[in-house]
Amino acid sequence: MASILRFLHWFCRLALAGVFIYSGYIKVQSPLQFASAIAGYKIAPDSMIMPLANYLPWVEIALGVLLLAGWKIRYVALGAAALLVSFTVILTVTYLRGIDADCGCFGFGQKISPLTIARDTLILIPALVLIFETRLRNLTAQASTAAGRTRAG
């Protein structure tokens, strides 16, 4: 069981780090393109668009690097989850408002759809696993102890 949990830990860390670094890297290449995507959401004031386009990708890259480095994983995963929840909420609201905007999530030219919303929600799973990892370990430890007692009894 411990090896499965270890595998899950590494899988979630690498997957999440990869997603964040890739997503940030794409946006860093063209802040103006990302700014155009943000403007398309019609949610942020014009004065906020360029600062967001300039700094948000670096936040994503930093989260990815920290996940790889393994520094305060639980808190970094919490930050990643908060960012993902915000993205998902914004995507959903924009979609429900009927705005035909570019997702701007992983590259450009993909319109917001239930598929892009589902994808963002799916990426939340590894972040949640990393956040609740300790609880998950405790639960499995308790379960294995209980199973051992039953077998012994």
């Binding site: 063209s30 103006l32 700014a35 995507a37 398309g40 014009d46 668009i49 360029m50 570019d102 030219g109």
Partner: protein
């Protein structure tokens, strides 16, 4: 001797010709401006209308006039828009009349987009902003085969640069080119420009 003379005349002629050609579709600002924006636009596309009327006109007024930003418009009429090509032909003919006339026709075509997109009467929007003499000259210029050649050339250029939708912009500043698929509000571009040219 003749070969040398031919080479010399070619060497002199080519740069001038190239400069004229590249300046032809310059809507504002010089080619030596620190920022260059190339726009692939379609007259019948609503997002292109917004980009021109709400963003580019302001860019032309606040930056191109001071030679800080060079705005180049490339024609990219999409096949899905039945009157876009005709509007483009009128715009290119107006370009041959002069920058003033070209700007007036661009303004009018984008402003009246909803009208001529419905009834196909592109010429009404053009005639409204030109003097009768200019409009007469424009009608003659419309027969010029170079107009269709320019459209074909611009479309080929767009395809070469993988333009899939309009508007698509290529913003070049500090030696770096950024592609933007879609429009941008003026305050956002202003934020970007002011970090470079202020």
């Amino acid at each position: 001797m003749i070969a040398v003379l031919i080479c010399l005349s070619l060497a002199c002629a080519i740069p001038v010709q190239a400069a004229d050609q590249s300046c032809e579709n310059c809507l504002g600002g010089g080619l030596d401006a620190p920022i260059k924006i190339e726009v692939f636009s379609d007259f019948q596309c609503p997002a292109c209308r917004t980009l021109y009327l709400d963003t580019m006109k302001q860019v032309l007024k606040d930056y191109s006039r001071l030679d800080k930003v060079c705005v180049i418009y490339h024609e990219f009429p999409l096949p899905m828009h039945p009157h876009a090509r005709e509007a483009t032909r009128y715009s290119l003919a107006a370009r041959k009349l002069g920058r003033q006339q070209w700007l007036a026709v661009l303004d009018s075509l984008y402003t009246d987009q909803a009208i001529w997109s419905q009834n196909g009467m592109v010429q009404v929007s053009v005639a409204r902003v030109l003097s009768p003499l200019d409009y007469q000259s424009l009608q003659k210029l419309l027969q010029d085969p170079s107009i269709n050649e320019t459209i074909t050339h611009d479309i080929a250029l767009g395809q070469e640069r993988k333009v899939l939708s309009t508007p698509t912009m290529f913003v070049t500043a500090i030696g770096k080119e950024q592609r933007v698929d879609g429009g941008l509000p003026f305050p956002v571009l202003k934020d970007f420009f002011d970090k470079i040219v202020k």
